[in-house]
Symmetry: C2
Subunit: 120 residues, 2 copies
Amino acid sequence: MTTLELARDFTSMLKRHDHDGAAAKYNADDIVSYEAMEGPMAVCRGKASVKAKGDWWQANHEVHGGTVEGPYVNGDQFVVRFTIDVTAKESGQRMMMDEVGIYTVKDGKIVEERFCYLEA
Amino acid sequence: MTTLELARDFTSMLKRHDHDGAAAKYNADDIVSYEAMEGPMAVCRGKASVKAKGDWWQANHEVHGGTVEGPYVNGDQFVVRFTIDVTAKESGQRMMMDEVGIYTVKDGKIVEERFCYLEA
């Protein structure tokens, strides 16, 4: 499977809201995930740890809608852009998130994901 | 100057259509530029060589309009998304390009730019 094929299938699963399935299928066991924000989740190592971060996020946010654009592909990397209309449950604050993920592929798996937030 | 400050100023210059000024101000002397397409321009090394590539592109394309979104920032990297409504002068073909640039910053200069094209 080429990076292009992987990127298309992965992004198409995200467009169908199957984030869990996409991560289960394509995240490498030793994936490293980088958030833009500082704090304890800034760097997250390993497939199980990344899944836990995703589970935490889903449990603590209510998603009203959003868009997934991509994949944008070059070599062993691809980019997906997300907008998410979301309410943080604890604060009740509703916000529009606008971010991109840069994914790096090796041996048919995603070995790194790096999220970048709009800083306009 | 932080990567965030650089990314904001660089992107703001692109939004004002000052690509030449942005590249002159922020490209490192030893910048490496990666295009997604294959061919002689796939990898381009050095500020002068990257400028020559940009000059060639501008001379051979007529730009009708477009958008610049970003910057999306994380650590020493940032992403800018471009849509470009453009006609290739030689073929006369008008197309809507949709791409992102991943920029890597070191010591206040852009040392790598990698362009990724929409492969939906």
